[in-house]
Symmetry: C2
Subunit: 279 residues, 2 copies
């Protein structure tokens, strides 16, 4: 995020969602773009690309406890548009979301796709990443590291790659959690990085209990799993003693803001925290 | 428009706008994508690219008589992001539209940009291209061909290129006209092509009076001007005897559907009608 994030005209460009009061409804809007060779592999099945493009945007709605209203697609024609449309139909049917419109363009360069998802908040105020309070506990809906293994399987040509190819958008979980959380976001860029963003936005320190984090990998890859993204679990904070009707895992504590926004077992974590966009 | 337009999952993908009842409001949504080397020139000032990306989407809202609520941007980092942001700030300020959010990606290939514009209808039902009735008259808000001359000026390095670089979105005109029209759309791909689409959508025949069409070009380029797009004038139909509070030009008649959807001075026009996407 170079020039764009710092200019007033581009403020908020990379927040997860826009939340907008409109008449009697609270709208939630999100837009993600994906490029061939960056966000998906060259030669990857376009049906999976379509799935991921839709699911990752719906995941942003999930983190707001929003119910999808529809999506708009910006589609650059590729080498197998039929497969893309097949995957699009599958993911839209799976989540019962209509395609409202969009645009199709032809260009000779690597494929770039964009998707806008529109939802309505089911609970107000819609959770944001900035509401974590000292004393809260930190929770996650499920394991991290599955997408990492899935990408390796896809690259190696054997093993289970579904978690990378067809991530789930936790819409039902998000709706169930929204009334109960103080802050919520989806983990798209890595648990440590996204938790540090939540801490910074909330002006608190988040201390993650390393061994409490559920991981989909062998134990010796725990540190990687905590830094890998694309699992789209929901990360949230809630007052101590909260109970939830969906399976969740307590993985840390929220403290008043100290010198560092993020701690891992009480210490500042070393190395890269996750995947940084545009860097 | 190859596979995508024909598949049920992609139905409506290239309609101008989605219109959606949500609570007490009627939302109007549109998404357009633009690629370097296709929709804008390689090396073109990114500030102008930003302007056009926003203005063309706002023009779709204008054709619905909608008032903009905000936009979401899918931005692929380019060679001069500061200039893009400067142009973005200018066009958003000009139309008093907020940037609600979006996404920024880095990719090595030619730049592809997407924009979603969200508006609220000011008049219901919002005009569509399918409402033209036999007996109506056909009108346009202003001359065609200005963008064609502007593109030539830009390519030649002299002359006035503003009409191509910074088209206007006729939001005020659209709002004023919406309660009075039977059908309305913006002319983005060429007057003849867009009029033929309106005729097809309305199941009527539209006969354009060639000499009545206001053009920005010398008379000897009239036929080109009628086929060139990107002027973003509003094209609409209304019952005979209608009067309007904005400057408009009567350019044709709507008849019951004959063998051809579009006539020019009573005859089927020859050659290409305009710019076809994805072909």
């Amino acid at each position: 995020m170079r020039a764009l994030a710092t200019h007033p005209a581009a403020r908020g460009l990379n927040d997860d969602c826009a939340v907008l009061e409109l008449g009697s409804e609270t709208l939630v809007l999100t837009h993600d773009a994906m490029a061939e060779g960056v966000h998906f592999l060259r030669g990857q099945d376009p049906a999976d690309v379509a799935w991921k493009l839709v699911a990752t945007n719906l995941s942003d709605l999930a983190a707001k406890g929003a119910e999808p209203v529809g999506v708009l697609l910006g589609y650059q024609l590729g080498t197998n548009d039929d497969r893309f449309v097949a995957g699009l139909a599958e993911v839209l049917a799976c989540y019962n979301v209509p395609l409202l419109g969009g645009d199709t363009i032809a260009a000779s360069s690597a494929q770039v796709l964009g998707l806008t998802a529109l939802g309505r908040a089911t609970y107000q105020p819609a959770p944001s990443r900035s509401g974590a309070q000292a004393g809260d506990e930190l929770w996650i809906t499920g394991p991290v590291g599955a997408a990492m293994l899935g990408l390796e399987a896809l690259r190696n040509g054997h093993g289970e790659s579904l978690a990378y190819r067809r991530p789930a958008a936790l819409l039902a979980e998000g709706r169930a959690l929204a009334p109960l959380v103080s802050a919520m976001m989806d983990v798209s860029d890595g648990l440590l990085l996204d938790a540090s963003r939540m801490a910074a936005a909330s002006d608190v320190t988040i201390d993650i209990d390393r061994s409490a984090v559920p991981i989909a990998t062998p134990e010796d890859r725990r540190d990687e799993a905590l830094r890998w993204g694309e699992d789209y679990q929901l990360l949230f904070t809630a007052p101590p003693g909260s109970t939830f009707l969906v399976p969740v895992h307590r993985i840390g504590q929220v403290h008043t803001r100290g010198p560092a926004a993020l701690l891992l077992d009480g210490k500042v974590p070393t190395g890269k925290l996750g995947y940084q966009h545009g860097s």
